[in-house]
Symmetry: C2
Subunit: 457 residues, 2 copies
């Protein structure tokens, strides 16, 4: 930042500080106290995790989550609660996958693996083939058909430990899961084995969606644990030639009907201006989807409850949206946009919470320069909660669809250090969510929405 703009910013902050800030900090304190004392988010999350559990799109549990969260929105004080029907993919894992590396003397090293979401299965016979390790997409291209045809490609892209923002490492290494299998198929590979996207060593396979490309065959794709990936990489260096067996039972069934769940508090002055806050209701099938994204669901519900309980009736319509199918299709987000267009809705602002219910550290804005100048002076109001970061990066996958409408978008940025210990793995359970962290995140979301509602954008 140039000195000049820093001085301008300083002046801006000060002029704001000397006028509206006192009134607003009283309101923000009131909101924060209300949430930290009386939030129902944690108990709602317990219900979603322990009474329902995994809720992949198209599953019976996903429907249970629709019903339960509609009730929660009513209990939170929404004026109106309704469902937005949408068709969703229906991928099923089938019986537990197996796989191993063949060792000398007929011995086996069993792999901690799971099929990647949306992957095709291997069939009952499974797949037997030599393993080739690649550590980058360039290496994959360089090896090409000559080296990869008929092979199981082992995409070993460790997450970069030196990135303090762990999502950056996810973005970089994640290409192995999103694009790796289909690129391997391009060169004739028969299956793909992807190193789990976990930044710490562990024994759990972390699933997640993979994408196919119509031009290439759909090959089975699995994730193996980071510890297994390290072991396998060492073995390949020692022995050069190893073969693996994998057997998976997953398949994609025809689309089925499902729903976004919406709860609203109608605005008192500008009911047609809509402020959306949301997380996604579906989760992967391996765990309870506690951090991803049960946390976001219950935080979004908490926004309505806390606004009501604080007596801060919004001027604009505040809408909590629990999106279906973020994990393996994005159909809920797509449907939300479609209905917004059909109904000619005016979407002022949309806040997504889908990075876990950890201690909040900031907000990321996708807004115009003029909007950002309006928002930035609010930042000191969040310092008491330890929220110091207002950045201009991406917002979220579900609210991202609204970009087409010119809506100002935002994402809650929680602390990222622990997210990839549980992300898409069996460790994503209620016990790994901190009540205080979850509620503090919700408190800051309510405060931001209070400010957007009060000042507009």
């Amino acid at each position: 930042m140039q000195i000049k703009s820093l001085v301008t910013l300083t002046a801006l902050l000060c002029s704001f500080a000397l006028t509206a800030q006192t009134e607003d900090s009283v309101a923000v304190k009131k909101i924060t106290d209300e949430v930290m004392t009386n939030a129902t988010a944690y108990e709602n999350l317990r219900y979603i995790c322990k009474k329902i559990g995994p809720r992949l799109s198209g599953s019976a549990n996903a429907q249970k989550a629709v019903d339960a969260t509609a009730r929660m929105l009513k209990a939170a004080g929404a004026d109106t609660v309704y469902l937005q029907p949408c068709m969703v993919p229906h991928w099923v894992r089938g019986a537990k996958e197996t796989g191993y590396i063949k060792l000398a003397g007929g011995k086996k090293y069993n792999l901690n693996l799971c099929a990647l979401g949306n992957s095709v299965g291997t069939g009952k016979k499974g797949i037997n083939a030599g393993v080739v390790e690649v550590r980058s997409m360039n290496e994959l291209d360089a090896l090409g058909t000559n080296n990869l045809k008929g092979k199981i490609v082992f995409l070993n892209f460790p997450m970069n430990q030196t990135y303090i923002e762990v999502f950056r490492a996810y973005g970089e290494s994640g290409v192995s899961r999103w694009d790796g299998p289909t690129k391997a198929a391009k060169y004739g590979a028969v299956a793909a084995m992807v190193r789990s996207l976990a930044i710490n060593p562990d024994d759990h396979p972390h699933t997640g969606v993979t994408g196919y490309n119509d031009s290439f065959p759909e090959i089975p794709a699995v994730a193996i644990s980071t510890n297994d990936a390290e072991w396998l990489s060492r073995q390949l260096k020692l022995k050069m030639q190893l073969s693996a067996f994998i057997q998976t039972n997953c398949r994609m069934l025809p689309d089925v009907p499902s729903f976004n769940v919406v709860g609203e508090i109608k605005g008192s002055a500008f009911p047609n201006e809509i402020i959306t806050v949301g997380g996604h209701l579906d989760s992967w099938d391996l765990a309870e989807g506690a951090q991803d994204d049960g946390a976001g669901v219950v935080q979004s519900i908490e926004v309505l409850r806390a606004l009501k309980a604080s007596g801060l009736h919004p001027k604009r319509t505040v809408r909590a949206v629990l999106f279906m199918n973020e994990e393996n299709g994005g159909r809920g987000g797509e449907k939300y946009l479609e209905l917004a267009k059909t109904n000619k809705e005016n979407h002022l602002f949309a806040l997504e919470t889908d990075a876990g219910g950890f201690t909040p550290r900031g907000f990321s804005f996708e807004v115009s320069d003029a909007q950002y100048e309006k928002i930035l002076p609010w930042k000191p109001l969040f310092y008491n909660s330890g929220v110091y970061k207002f950045s201009r990066e991406g917002s979220g996958a579900d609210v991202g669809y609204l970009k087409e409408l010119g809506t100002a978008l935002c994402g809650l940025i929680p602390d990222t250090q622990r997210y990839f210990d549980v992300h898409h793995a069996e460790t994503d359970v209620f016990e790994n969510v901190s009540r205080r962290e979850l509620h503090l995140g919700a408190a800051n979301m309510v405060a931001l929405i209070y400010l957007v509602d009060k000042y507009g954008l």
Copy 2:
């Protein structure tokens, strides 16, 4: 803050930014990368927690921890490793405590309880008495001897949910544990039952030291879980008269010899100027002391390792000190000061890490105004790690002794939301420490010590 000082600060930050910052940010990045990639702190912590475990002062495990961490300091690259003998209290819990509330019809409600540290025991017969709840020290004084004589006083001081810095709530409610039992004794109470100092509801008793006053009898004191405290408070409101039975087997034995463990890297230019970094080696007996303060111990050792591994040989002597007996006596800290005086050591700076190995959020300085002005411009160097807070509050119990020498003191401030879920309870185990959070804390400690060493104070 006044506008004028903000502008001055801005100028200060900018002038610093334009000169030394580039060189320093390169060094800080190097340090951070080294720690996030190669730190041994997490594996050292695993050893301390899983191979040793609880290590209350005077126990055989405390001695094992002395031996093990001396080895770790050598392995980390300390030039010199030595022990500082000191006598420590030797309190033992004895057989597991029991206690219950008597209900109608001879039924019992069993309490999750434990003796408080340094408490006397009840003897085998236990104590049977009516329970009186107090919710503040004023209430205790108001009830006085008339109402408290012969009773078990139930000190129910919930931690304030609205404090975002949870240590503030600990400070406020903690008086119930530190002073409550002896104040109850002043009014003739026969025992004290203290609500655990946990901010979230749970079923674990959280121990911790209580203090006696020579003027009053030493009465047995226990902690009960927060859930039991809530239950008991409700029952007392309904039934008014309830009595309890508690039986504890703890006692204080004569002092025994123990040690601080010290590892040094001798300074290349000013070897007589000492920079101390430390945590405490002892832990409560109920768990592994992972966050309290195994984390601080292994972070302090990591400071030496990372300085060596980064090739940043310090000009001043950097000394990692693993203090004994922080929990129930402070004898290690006291001894460290005594030896510093005896040996006429020049203590420039001392950094304590005893608030858990959670994501680092800042540092708290006990320094002069001139020193703070020198330190403050370093703050932007920590933003990349998400560290935004440089405050002027307390540092730590062990380094606090050095205040007498005029040493500049500092405490690492980690995120506080989860600390009191595990603090002094059986949940303080290795599994509840995040590798990335622990290492990120260590990285920031190394960076701060690098700057203090480079620029002096």
